[in-house]
Symmetry: C2
Subunit: 594 residues, 2 copies
């Protein structure tokens, strides 16, 4: 069975050297995030992950969730693990101490979340969805709702869920049909929701559903959708659990992966209508949802990083043990561990370097999120928010594509054993596969990026970012740094040209631009990843020159950055042409014939 | 449930226009392969595939194989489907009519195999492995063995298996430990074999195992391995089944996919030793295996094409039906079928164009195989063989990577439904995933290509091929053709430069070259794919200009070729640098630290 060890050294490197934990900890309200505390937090999280969550990853996948008569039973061990998780206070890491949270930066919460997701992605979905519920409630909930629900959600005693999707309304929330009618101080909700993660289970006493529904007099489309809090059990005035609400789990899905997490079909209001409480104003449900979207998409992007790390650890450990074939550069006839073979090294470096680049980018976005939330300077807060809005679709889509790709390579490193489920490598691929789909498909991320984030603001934020990237110009004779800088410049030039084309073309020919949306997102991801790895190499070289820290660690970082530049970032060169030329064939196609 | 319709129009286009069925049918012994006959064969295969095999694809995946006390039961319907398959004579399409085969070209057999694999890959593995057994027996078996076994293998009454792998010997067959001792006119075999596809099942009365084992006095390494035919039931002089041989299935694997096909752990000789008959000379087992390797690798490459086609059909059909979101280029607020959205078109074109390129390449290799086997001119036969040897690793690795990639994109087109197993899109990804692993991992293919096929012969065959590709120079003012030709030239230049570097560097620094092996294979695959699609576009344009045939079909072919050039082939430009620079970081890495 594969084990998991939190990559603490990598995590601290990115927190401190790339994502600016020092700056984040100087933001108002985040002063507790001292280096010592953060180190202790990461260490403790690593222990819980290795000892409790990781061992359940495979058994939970095999056992799956059980559904019978509206009741869902999670796999063996989940309940006890969840109890340990919330007893450790892990459910409330980034939340308001007034409601029992730890009050730590999102940046630190991001590092900790990576660890949970590496250890057990299916398990980690429960706190992830609760996190979204807490944010919605914190930002838009009435004081009464906050008083009743927030503390128990932050402690994890209760969990939260997101009820957006209906069979006819996935990406297109305008088509939501679930109904809400006013009934005194509350509403009565009815309708069917699908793909509800942890919509029903046995980990908590109550489940707090956040449900999008339409009032009878609501306008058409997305501007007629309201958000409701619909608890599984109503809550009495004294906080104790009251009557069961009129909602039930109809079935759970058979999925490709994340099998230890129940994905429920929920039915609301089969009898008198489920009692729901309005969150935010009527008809502003979608607007409310947007406030938690950056965080949720960051969290899903991080799943890509987390699965990639787990898959990498497993493949590396296998390659260090598996003996097969002689070394082509040696005269010895003896077989060697496969990690000696160049093509295996290539696969592992591809896994490692992309994981590192994606981690650096995700953590940077998390640091930017903290600045956008808390920077005392209005202008700094605004520019951080603009940068965050630009980064989020890239973190979500680019990192989850990397998660799939790295897990896929992990299977390959194992050869035939990779295809056997007992090995566990295949599970990583199955689990990783969802992350490019939910929380807005990666196609939607690309459209969001190119339309809403780049074209609409005439490429302003991306231009500022490009100027920042161009400031990476190491004055060194080091071959690796020079090679990385050169590749990064080529990529940045391509990004600049592509951005100009997007801004110019979008107003008159949106479909031509949308045909290149996916490639544009890839180009931005590659360039940002190259920049992150370039900075990584530069910092590592400095450390080595100054004789500071773990030399082997820094040397490996430079090799990884060089690989990323030569083998991954290099692809950026063709992307400007890819983007510009894409529309020719794509727009012409109609698929009326096969 | 997803259906499957054989893409007859595409298949006939590639057979006739790209892979040269006319030339193949003029080879001695293949004269029966007239256009009419081939059309009828493809049509009948399509019917059996759609009506019988495809409907079992999903049910077989769910039900899986059952193992109890050494007995394997295949999923419901498999037995009846297999009966229909062999009654139709489909098991013997390319084999000697003297033993009951149909005597058709490998090119035609390849088209038919694509159809089986699209319909039901797990099912199709049974005839695929039998095919290998038949080839080994035909080429290396004694007359007595041929008389006893060939007819029943060709009819499919009995099936054949390949027993190479042992726990410590996968890629590295030198490490095989299974033993064979002489015992009169036969041998006694003992040892354990793993990953034996259809090693035990209930489809046939007898199972003919081809087993690699080592004689007591054999030399070390691969030159001390012999090949034995070991039947499950011994065969009496009159051809009836005799005693059960001393071999058994110990267990079957739980796999990521191809679940309807049993993958057995086999144990030989737990009692007196399994009776086996030598095939070929003693200690020449590996050499014998090589004779069927090109065919087997072509067959696996074709699995990539087949799954890609199936995944494409399913994704296209879903996109034609699923209504979601408005058209960005229209003023209407109404939601449209998602096939109108540029990013969905991009995904479908990516699936379609790569499937077409991989099909054209695989069929071309099959046509070359027929020429290598049967051309009356010695020199032509030799040059066909050299070309085939070069093409095979590309067909195997490039097409199976495409299979995975296309199936992965197919999941994405389905959005959330893609992750639900009932949809069937995820199964294609799970099934496709094995093809890059078995029959020599894709890493091994790349090493075989760059070492044994390119470096060892100083790039001679690839240079001939490059000269052929350069002959594609359409004299036309058509924009699409011109754009395709330009991209192809860039790719060909990169291939030429990379080849020169490989030839020059391999003798002194094999590991540097091996570090770039995967990229070199990708570059050759891309270039060949671009050439195939260029020829496709050129032929299609001619047909359109002459007003021949189905205009919509040919227009779609040109769009697909243009997409391939602009979005796929374009990547070839960076490959020379990728190959050359790869060794810098790869060779430096050691993974002693994470």
């Amino acid at each position: 069975m594969s084990t998991y060890t939190a990559p603490s050294q990598d995590i601290h490197f990115v927190l401190n050297e790339i994502a600016g934990l020092g700056d984040v900890a100087s933001l108002p309200g985040l002063e507790d995030a001292t280096p010592d505390l953060v180190e202790a937090v990461v260490e403790e999280a690593g222990k819980l992950a290795s000892d409790v969550l990781a061992p359940l990853n495979r058994s939970g996948d095999i056992e799956n969730c059980h559904f019978e008569n509206g009741v869902v039973r999670t796999p063996k061990g989940s309940k006890d693990a969840y109890r340990q998780f919330i007893e450790g206070g892990w459910n409330g890491v980034p939340f308001d101490p007034d409601f029992g949270g730890q009050g730590l930066p999102w940046l630190v919460s991001t590092a900790v979340s990576e660890i949970w997701n590496s250890a057990n992605m299916a398990f980690s979905l429960c706190p992830l969805l609760t996190q979204g519920t807490i944010e919605l409630l914190t930002t838009h909930g009435s004081e009464e709702l906050q008083t009743t629900f927030l503390e128990k959600l932050i402690s994890g005693e209760w969990n939260g869920t997101m009820n957006l999707t209906e069979p006819q309304a996935g990406t297109d929330l305008a088509r939501i049909k679930s109904r809400a009618v006013r009934d005194g101080d509350h509403y009565r909700i009815s309708g069917q929701k699908i793909f509800i993660t942890y919509g029903e289970h046995d980990l908590t006493d109550n489940i707090i559903h956040m449900v999008l529904a339409r009032l009878p007099d609501a306008p058409e489309g997305v501007k007629g959708i309201s958000l409701f809090l619909v608890p599984k059990f109503l809550v009495n005035a004294d906080g104790s659990l009251g009557e069961r609400n009129d909602l039930k789990c109809v079935s759970i899905e058979h999925k490709l992966g994340i099998n230890a997490s129940p994905t429920a079909v929920m039915s609301y209001g089969d009898n008198d209508g489920a009692i729901g409480y309005l969150v935010g104003a009527e008809n502003e449900g979608i607007k409310c949802m947007f406030t938690m979207m950056n965080n949720a998409r960051l969290a899903v992007g991080l799943e890509g990083v987390a699965i990639a790390e787990r898959a990498y650890q497993q493949a590396r450990d296998y390659a260090l043990e598996r003996v097969q074939s002689r070394d082509a550069s040696s005269n010895s006839p003896d077989a060697v561990t496969i990690i000696h073979h160049p093509d295996v090294k290539r696969m592992l470096l591809s896994m490692k370097s992309r994981t590192e680049a994606a981690r650096a980018l995700a953590y940077s976005a998390a640091g930017t999120l903290d600045a956008a939330n808390r920077h005392p300077d209005d202008a700094k807060r605004a520019s951080a928010q603009a940068l965050l809005d630009l980064l989020i679709p890239v973190v979500k889509a680019w990192s989850t594509d990397i998660g799939i790709d790295v897990a896929n390579t992990g299977v390959q490193v194992h050869g035939g054993m990779g295809y056997i489920e007992e090995t566990g490598a295949a599970q990583h691929l199955r689990d990783a596969r969802i992350a490019s789909i939910y929380e807005g498909t990666n196609g939607i991320q690309a459209i969001d990026l190119i339309g809403r984030k780049v074209a609409r603001e005439n490429g302003e934020t991306v231009s500022t970012l490009i100027a920042d990237i161009r400031r990476f110009a190491p004055t060194t004779t080091n071959d690796d740094l020079a090679a990385i800088a050169e590749r990064l410049e080529t990529a940045t030039n391509a990004l600049e040209k592509a951005t100009a084309w997007v801004v110019e073309t979008f107003p008159t020919d949106p479909n031509a631009v949308l045909a290149g949306a996916n490639s544009y997102l890839s180009l931005l991801g590659l360039t940002l990843g190259g920049w992150m790895m370039g900075r990584t190499a530069e910092i590592s070289l400095n450390k080595l020159e100054m004789g500071q820290g773990d030399a082997a660690f820094y040397k490996a970082k430079i090799i990884s950055a060089r690989f990323f530049a030569d083998q991954v970032l290099i692809e950026a060169a063709s992307y400007h042409e890819k983007i510009v030329s894409g529309s020719v064939s794509i727009t012409a196609s109609d698929f009326s014939v096969s």
